[in-house]
Every structure is written in structure tokens, then in C-alpha cells.
């Protein structure tokens, strides 16, 4: 049963920390539950939005880590061609995925007769949330990857387990903040 204990030992702490982050996110949602009754489409697209920001950030860390190991990105906090390619490539992906998500969300909302609240304002809030999160995640994950790499650690092992939980917390946080500001 060596393999069994190895998995438990390596995973337990990170799984509990991630669950705790998820619970903070849930408490934030619960404290603002009236938003879901007033603008139900937010609850419809929230799981996809969390996944989207988490997935793109995971891809970013994996790509930066690979580039650092093969030397196409220097281990310094500075602009490089490869970094720009990653930024714009992932930005295009996240924006087009958001368009698909919004389109699917509204198609489902119309077919299931869910109350639709000012779609232009909601789309603007979603776009603002995703863009802000993307920029924050890109800058912070890039700097963290460089710092970890310089200390001889693999950024994949340290950053990827936290990204899903961080995205799960930050996405509803910014969404709720913008809804409070604009609506």
C-alpha cells in the first residue's frame, strides 16, 4: 500500500486548502444570494466562468514553466517576444471562449425562459471581470513563476494546485463587485 499512502500524503493538505478557498467563495456567494434571484443568468454561467479563468491560468503557468526550462523565456521579470505571444494567444482564446459562453448562456436562458436582465450591461460586466482577472492572473502568475524557478522550484507543482481555487474565489468576487458598482 505504498502508493496509497504516497498519494494521501502528497495530496491531503493541498486538497483541504483548496476546499477552504472554495468555501470562502461559497460564503461570498451566499452573502450576495439576492443577485442570483435578480439576475439568474449569473448563476447559470458562473461554473463555466470559474472554469474558464482557472483553465486559461493553468495553461499559462504550464507554458511559462516549459518556456523557462527550455530557455525561450529568460528567468527575469521583463518583456520578451515569447511572453507577448503567450499573452495575446491566451487573451484571444479567453475572449472567444467568453463569446461562446455568453451565446450559449443566453440561448439556454431563452429556451428555459429564465428572466433576462439588461443583456448589454451583463455582457459588459462579464467582459470587464474576465479582462481584469486575465491581466491580474497573467502578471502575478508570471512573476511567481519566475521567482519560484529562480529558487530552483518547479512552478507547475506550486502554482497549478492553487489556481483553480484562486480563480473560483476571484471570479465571483470581481463579478459581485462590478454588479454592485454598475447595477
Amino acid at each position: 500500500m505504498n502508493y496509497f499512502w504516497k498519494i494521501i500524503k502528497e495530496s491531503l493538505i493541498i486538497v483541504l486548502i483548496s476546499s477552504l478557498m472554495g468555501l470562502f467563495s461559497g460564503t461570498l456567494l451566499s452573502a450576495n444570494q439576492e443577485i442570483f434571484y435578480a439576475i439568474p443568468i449569473i448563476l447559470l454561467i458562473l461554473p463555466s466562468l470559474n472554469s474558464l479563468t482557472g483553465d486559461i491560468s493553468t495553461v499559462l503557468v504550464s507554458r511559462i514553466t516549459s518556456a523557462l526550462y527550455i530557455g525561450t523565456i529568460p528567468p527575469k521579470v521583463q518583456k520578451s517576444e515569447r511572453l507577448k505571444e503567450n499573452f495575446f494567444g491566451l487573451l484571444i482564446t479567453i475572449l472567444l471562449s467568453l463569446i461562446v459562453l455568453i451565446a450559449l448562456g443566453y440561448i439556454l436562458a431563452i429556451t428555459t425562459r429564465i428572466k433576462i436582465f439588461n443583456p448589454f450591461l451583463i455582457i459588459f460586466i462579464l467582459l470587464l471581470t474576465v479582462l481584469l482577472l486575465f491581466v491580474i492572473m497573467f502578471i502575478s502568475l508570471f512573476i511567481s513563476s519566475i521567482l519560484l524557478f529562480k529558487r530552483g522550484k518547479d512552478p507547475n507543482n506550486f502554482l497549478i494546485p492553487f489556481i483553480t481555487s484562486l480563480a473560483d474565489f476571484l471570479t465571483p468576487f470581481f463579478l459581485i463587485v462590478f454588479i454592485i458598482i454598475f447595477i
Partner: protein, 186 residues
């Protein structure tokens, strides 16, 4: 140089976009179940505390299980013993985490949200049963997907994860709803 940069951007897009779409489709169905089936529950304020923690387990329990199974297939170390130990470890982690999520959700409700709708044992059971039901679907399906990907010469790392992301998120919410019905949650 500019042409090369544009090619690289389009490569990132081509490799990432299709799996994102699969993931979005699975998650949007999870969202519709949350909206149509879970939102009307009287205990929704406490249920919504649990949901993000359950959804995050996809990345922390199912994801690593899939990655370990893919790796075992790729390096030729997949066998009954490794799979059984991997499965047992994942279920053990699920029970510990489910218990932890249940207790913490109850505490969050007790000190912050203050609905006092559900007793602690029900909150713990909701969390543990939902995770176990989800894993009962996720583990066999991801193992089969890994097996067939490997058998047909595809890299399980590229094929199984996006599909399982969609399957896991969708079934997490479905199993959560089934658990609520089973336990007679108001």
C-alpha cells in the same frame, strides 16, 4: 518575425480553444441545474456555500486521479494493484475532504450567514455523499477513457482531461441534487 509571432498565437488558440469549448458546455449544463433545480431550495443560502468547494474538487481529486492513471498507462505501469490503490486513495481523500467541507460549511453558516436551516450532520452527509456519487461516475469513466485513448494511440493527457472536466462538473451538480433529494433537504 511578425508572421512567426502570429503563427504562435494561432497555435496557442488552436490547442486551447476546442478543449475550452467542451469544458464550457459541461459547465453550462451544471449552471442550468444549479439555477433550475438547486436555487428553489429553501436551504439555498447554505447549499451555495458547499457548491464551489465541491466543484473545486474536480481539479484536486479527479484531475490528479486522471493524471496518475494517464501516467501509469504511458510509462507502462498500469496494473490492477496501482489502479486499486489510486482509487482507494482518491475515495479516502474524498471522505476526509467531504467531512471537512461539511463542518466548515456549517461553521460558515453558523457565524457568517446565520440561516440555521440545516443541522450539522445533514450538511456533512450532503458533502460526503455528493463527492462519493460523483467519483463513482468519474473514476470508471476516466479510466475507460484513458484506456481507449491509449489503445488508439492518442495522448491521454490531451484527450481525457477536457472531456472529464465537462463530465465531472456536470455530474458534481447532478449528484449534489440527487443527494439533496435522497436526504430530504428542504
Amino acid at each position: 518575425m511578425e508572421q512567426q509571432e502570429s503563427k504562435s498565437k494561432s497555435k496557442i488558440f488552436k490547442e486551447t480553444f476546442p478543449s475550452e469549448i467542451i469544458s464550457i458546455i459541461g459547465d453550462i449544463f451544471a449552471g442550468i441545474i444549479l439555477l433550475l433545480l438547486v436555487l428553489p431550495f429553501k436551504s439555498f443560502p447554505i447549499l451555495i456555500i458547499i457548491v464551489p468547494a465541491l466543484l473545486s474538487l474536480r481539479g484536486n481529486l479527479s484531475g490528479p486521479f486522471i493524471a496518475r492513471t494517464s501516467r501509469d498507462f504511458i510509462i507502462g505501469e498500469f496494473n490492477k494493484s496501482s489502479w486499486v490503490q489510486n482509487t482507494l486513495a482518491t475515495f479516502s481523500l474524498a471522505i476526509i475532504t467531504g467531512f471537512f467541507i461539511g463542518i466548515c460549511s456549517f461553521m460558515m453558516d453558523l457565524f457568517l450567514i446565520r440561516t440555521f436551516i440545516l443541522p450539522i450532520e445533514v450538511v456533512i452527509l450532503i458533502s460526503i455523499i455528493s463527492i462519493i456519487l460523483t467519483l463513482l461516475i468519474s473514476i470508471p469513466s476516466s479510466t475507460l477513457l484513458n484506456y481507449f485513448s491509449f489503445k488508439y494511440g492518442l495522448d491521454p493527457n490531451n484527450t481525457v482531461n477536457p472531456l472529464m472536466t465537462a463530465i465531472d462538473d456536470f455530474f458534481t451538480v447532478i449528484c449534489f441534487y440527487i443527494t439533496l433529494i435522497m436526504l430530504g433537504v428542504p
